[in-house]
């Protein structure tokens, strides 16, 4: 375990590039690069030494390279105050980064067929995953969606890595007009798939999970819940997740996730405490050995 534990470092920015609607930041972070496994993320402090912004911003790791001892790349769209600040960084600035964080995507043992489904910036963690899967001899099919053409993520890379790459945009400005979940059934029909990996907004993950269930394919989803620390201490990033023991727990998406088995996440109850969750109001203990009860995830 201690080999995989995250590190905190002040990482020099190597480059900040504009890529369509996104910014791609590459930092020198050897400790993070060497520990990284697909699906993990970093948590970045924003605003400098006297920042008024206390919560770290989470970004999926999009790429790691061996240069300079190890670099890490992440991509983001400017959304609020923190990403606006990040977009203004220049090369040689230092960023306070913690990573790699979270439970990575579980990888298949055998060279199976994998469908990777991503929405907007949520596509980022699927790229290192695709490379890893390819290295293991898996077939990769991409389904990437976004609001508009400039928000579709790394289309060229997706085409290069994957057997097929399907794109959807809400406004039809690129690929098929519609949502990824409109295009996904066709992809699942065309190539017999063994596992689905998905990353994006909660409603999309819910639908992808439902579709995969219909085709009886296991699905791994990476959720994006609001986070303050990323390290498991603040308890703000919880989602209701069913454990192996059948008990629902409010699981921290930063350490118990962000990757969960899709059917374990109670999507319809996100934003609530399900009445039957462990410790919900009125909940009464079942079984008498709470410690051995496996944690959710």
């Amino acid at each position: 375990m201690s080999d995989f534990r995250p590190v905190q470092m002040r990482s020099p920015v190597l480059t900040v590039r504009r890529v369509d609607a996104y910014y791609a930041v590459t930092v020198v972070a050897p400790g993070i690069a060497e520990r990284f496994r697909s699906g993990q993320f970093i948590a970045v402090a924003v605003g400098g030494e006297q920042s008024s912004m206390l919560s770290r911003r989470a970004f999926a790791i999009h790429d790691v390279k061996p240069d300079y001892g190890g670099t890490v790349e992440f991509l983001f769209a400017v959304r609020g105050k923190g990403t606006a600040w990040l977009a203004e960084r220049r090369s040689r600035d230092l960023l306070d980064i913690v990573g790699p964080l979270g439970r990575p995507f579980p990888l298949p043992r055998d060279p199976v067929n994998c469908v990777l489904v991503g929405g907007g910036a949520g596509s980022a963690p699927l790229f290192p995953l695709a490379h890893t899967l390819r290295r293991r001899g898996c077939r990769v099919d991409f389904v990437l969606g976004a609001a508009s053409a400039d928000r579709v993520f790394s289309a060229i890379t997706a085409r290069r890595v994957a057997e097929t790459a399907t794109f959807t945009t809400d406004d039809g400005s690129f690929g098929v007009r519609g949502r990824v979940t409109d295009a996904l059934p066709q992809v699942l029909e065309d190539a017999p798939s063994d596992v689905v990996y998905a990353c994006g907004p909660m409603p999309m993950l819910r639908e992808v999970t439902a579709l995969a269930a219909r085709y009886d394919i296991p699905v791994q989803v990476s959720v994006e819940e609001t986070m303050a620390c990323g390290t498991g201490v603040c308890m703000t990033c919880v989602v209701p997740v069913v454990g192996e023991d059948g008990i629902t727990r409010m699981a921290r998406s930063c350490v118990d996730g962000p990757v969960f088995r899709g059917e374990r996440v109670r999507f319809d109850d996100v934003g609530t405490i399900p009445f039957d969750a462990l410790g919900a109001p009125g909940w009464k203990a079942r079984g008498d050995d709470p410690v051995s009860a496996r944690e959710a995830g």
Partner: protein, 315 residues
């Protein structure tokens, strides 16, 4: 010569005055990835209750200027899991354990105190009084000095005599000094201040309250001047009662500020979310502050801001 950082909280001596704040560091396990938790004064654990507790729905937090608004609802595994899993882990790593407890009635608090007294290795108990009083239509124990005193008295009566009991106070009370006095009269060995400050944010996109609970608690550097005022005033009224000060400590200078105001130890909360190594960094900075000033013993500084001008401690 490096300064003597030891501090005394009732009959307990800690190696240094830098602690974690309850609910901001779990029971130490996550932070141990970033530093050796045996190096800080103590780990104050997340408030534990008798039963498991799922807490409040998400969204549980919103960022505010230099602060955090949160409403987590004391999610936790209950005392059973705490005693079997969390406490032994912390003790095995050489950490000092200050266990925070919360309940809905004096009896629940008493039961928690009894269970903790039976377990080996508990350094102190911190009584989180900002918990709804089930017998009083959900008012908090801190809202009523008599109710708070009943809880403190119950805990003290059921706690092993060598384990100090600290009462943790909220700033949102009609009269903080009155509340503090009531707790001390109920035999609290010391006071912890402050818990979060009542606050709220509206999400301007959804046009609804930003945290699911509506009202939440503000923490972080934003509330530091409020916390310093509380510590100062209570120390002025009760100069012999040890205080664990907290509220927005971010640097060693901030820790020093709390000592000068009257705290004997200082807990770091929200800033841990921003910097998981905060406690050891603050400890190092605090030591440097003392060295720069030529202060030999941290304990000499406790309450120094109350002394008349020119009577600050010998360097």
């Amino acid at each position: 010569m490096s300064p003597d950082l030891r501090t005394r909280l009732a009959n307990v001596e800690l190696a240094n005055p830098i602690l974690t704040a309850a609910g901001c560091a779990g029971a130490g396990r996550e932070l141990a990835q970033f530093f050796d938790i045996a190096r800080i004064g103590a780990v104050v654990t997340k408030s534990v209750m008798l039963d498991p507790r799922a807490g409040l729905p998400a969204p549980r937090m919103a960022e505010t200027p230099s602060g955090l608004l949160s409403a987590t609802g004391l999610q936790g595994p209950g005392i059973e899991v705490f005693l079997q899993r969390d406490l032994p882990w912390l003790l095995a790593r050489g950490g000092r354990a200050v266990v925070s407890i919360a309940g809905g009635s004096p009896a629940e608090y008493a039961e928690l105190a009894r269970r903790l007294s039976d377990a080996p290795g508990v350094t102190m108990i911190e009584v989180n009084l900002s918990s709804p009083n089930l017998a009083d239509q959900g008012r908090h124990f801190t809202d009523d000095p008599a109710a708070a005193a009943r809880v403190v008295h119950a805990v003290r009566s059921h706690t092993r005599s060598d384990i100090p009991v600290f009462a943790k106070l909220s700033p949102d009370v009609p009269d903080l000094v009155e509340l503090a006095v009531a707790c001390v009269q109920a035999r609290a060995d010391g006071l912890s201040m402050i818990n979060t400050v009542r606050g709220m944010a509206i999400d301007t996109t959804t046009m609804r309250p930003a945290v699911a609970g509506g009202v939440g608690g503000v923490s972080g550097p934003a509330i530091r001047p409020i916390a310093v005022a509380c510590v100062y005033e209570v120390h002025a009224a009760l100069p012999d009662v040890p205080i664990i000060g907290m509220g927005g400590v971010r640097t060693g200078t901030d820790a020093l500020e709390f000592l000068l105001a009257g705290a004997s130890a200082v807990a770091v909360g929200t800033v841990i979310f921003h910097d998981p190594s905060a406690c050891v960094r603050i400890l190092r900075e605090f030591e440097e502050e003392l060295e720069e000033r030529g202060v030999r013993r941290a304990a000499d500084l406790v309450g120094a801001a109350h002394r008349p001008m020119g009577a600050q401690p010998a360097r």
